[in-house]
């Protein structure tokens, strides 16, 4: 009995879709991750992903054909709410996020157990939390939504690149120069929420933060300008996600953890290179 060849795996349409969607998703996550990490908001990825999990659970129980229909608006609303409650980590916004995220997780799991739409609740939870094969089993709608949204986020990010720099480097100065900080922060919060929801398809709820954070942190070890940080983070994530998906497909490991594993290994390499370059 011969094993499936690498090329055979690549011939399956759902593998090809996973590669395209995976690259797009991780690209927009990495780009957004740069300002997020610089504003010391790395924990947001985790918190909002838990909220999204709760929303997904409810959507599943209510038999939505696509959970994103519910999880996207709910997560965006949560992000905007948190932004209102207190920006950043110094005005109690972090405590509120903690409550919201843990509460949503608990509620989601409870709802799933009380109203199982499938006979296999723990399996669904497992897959959703860790993204073992989610990216390989996207429905057509899911795939186009993911690709479309990530592309839109990337384009938006590129067009507002300088705004991102200004607001991230020195918000006070930007506001003094006439920047519309409220609008920027609201749009940023909404976009982060969208990216988190679609990233959950790739690496699962629990590993979403790594997709946002690791490329940025790795890039900052070697890059000397903001432009370089963004470019390196983008390249980093594309390479690691491609590698992660392909390794998972061939070696039979769960996709989410493999991508994150690739990220961490690559980060260590970058940290070493950064050390050497100094």
């Amino acid at each position: 009995m011969d094993e499936t060849t690498f090329l055979e795996y690549l011939s399956y349409p759902f593998v090809q879709n996973a590669l395209v969607a995976g690259v797009m998703i991780s690209l927009c996550a990495a780009l957004l991750g740069v300002p997020l990490v610089l504003r010391r908001l790395s924990f947001i990825g985790d918190g909002l992903s838990h909220v999204a999990f709760g929303a997904m659970a409810v959507a599943g129980v209510m038999n939505f054909s696509d959970s994103m229909v519910l999880s996207l608006p709910v997560t965006v609303a949560a992000a905007l709410l948190l932004m209102r409650a207190g920006r950043g980590a110094n005005t109690g916004g972090d405590a509120m996020l903690a409550m919201l995220s843990v509460g949503a997780m608990a509620a989601g799991y409870l709802v799933m157990n009380l109203n199982p739409s499938s006979s296999n609740v723990s399996g669904d939870v497992c897959t959703t939390l860790f993204g073992s094969v989610s990216i390989l089993t996207l429905t057509t709608l899911d795939m186009w939504l993911s690709i479309g949204l990530s592309a839109a986020v990337c384009v938006l990010w590129l067009l507002s690149y300088h705004h991102v720099f200004d607001m991230t480097f020195d918000e006070a100065y930007a506001r003094a120069s006439g920047a519309r900080a409220g609008l920027f922060n609201a749009v940023a919060a909404a976009v982060v929420a969208v990216v988190i929801v679609i990233s959950m398809r790739l690496v699962g709820t629990l590993l979403v933060s790594s997709l946002l954070v690791v490329p940025a942190v790795a890039a900052m070890r070697v890059a000397k300008s903001f432009k370089a940080v963004c470019a390196v983070a983008a390249a980093f994530t594309v390479v690691c996600s491609l590698a992660g998906i392909l390794i998972a497909v061939v070696a039979g490991t769960p996709v989410g953890s493999t991508i994150v594993g690739a990220d961490i290994v690559a980060f260590l390499a970058m940290a070493l290179i950064g050390r050497i370059l100094k």
Binding site: Y9, F14, N120, G123, V133, L136, A251, G252
Partner: protein
């Protein structure tokens, strides 16, 4: 005692004699006893892809209708609830972590097998191939079922 053994021996001989015939008649036309052409062989794939296909089988069984596929999972039998019901044989396909069952695929053996000796031990891994047909379960959802199934390996 001697009578019983004689009867058993005769029965066995008859079974042996008629088995090939039985196999032939239950067969679809032009289906050789030699290795059948399997369109989708999950046994040859990594766990990740196997799980992905299993999810696809669960989500859209219509897509696989008529295909010969080979699946790998844990075997078990489902005793009928009421008197006249039939025993069902199932293969439980697990998820990638191996902890939860994604889908139970019922298979109907091609050959007439007697329970339990012709079957593998329950809850052990088994490889089964067969032709996919789509049936409706109690809730009206579409479920895949393997017809003309052949159990390839009894035990890992």
């Amino acid at each position: 005692m001697k009578h019983c053994t004689m009867k058993l021996a005769l029965a066995a001989l008859a079974a042996a004699a008629f088995a090939p015939l039985a196999a032939h008649s239950a067969d679809a036309p032009a289906q050789p006893a030699a290795p059948r052409k399997i369109k989708l062989d999950l046994a040859k794939m990594s766990k990740t892809i196997r799980t992905a296909w299993a999810v696809k089988l669960l989500q859209n069984p219509e897509d696989f209708k008529g295909d010969i596929i080979q699946i790998v999972g844990d075997f078990y039998a489902d005793e009928p609830e009421d008197e006249g019901g039939e025993r069902r044989y199932l293969c439980a396909l697990k998820d990638a972590a191996g902890c939860c069952t994604l889908i139970d695929v019922e298979f109907r053996p091609r050959e007439k097998l007697s329970w339990p000796k012709d079957f593998p031990e329950e809850f052990t891994p088994v490889t089964v191939n067969g032709r996919v047909e789509v049936v409706r379960d109690g809730k009206g959802d579409a479920m895949p079922r393997l017809a003309d199934a052949v159990i390839v390996r009894q035990k890992k």
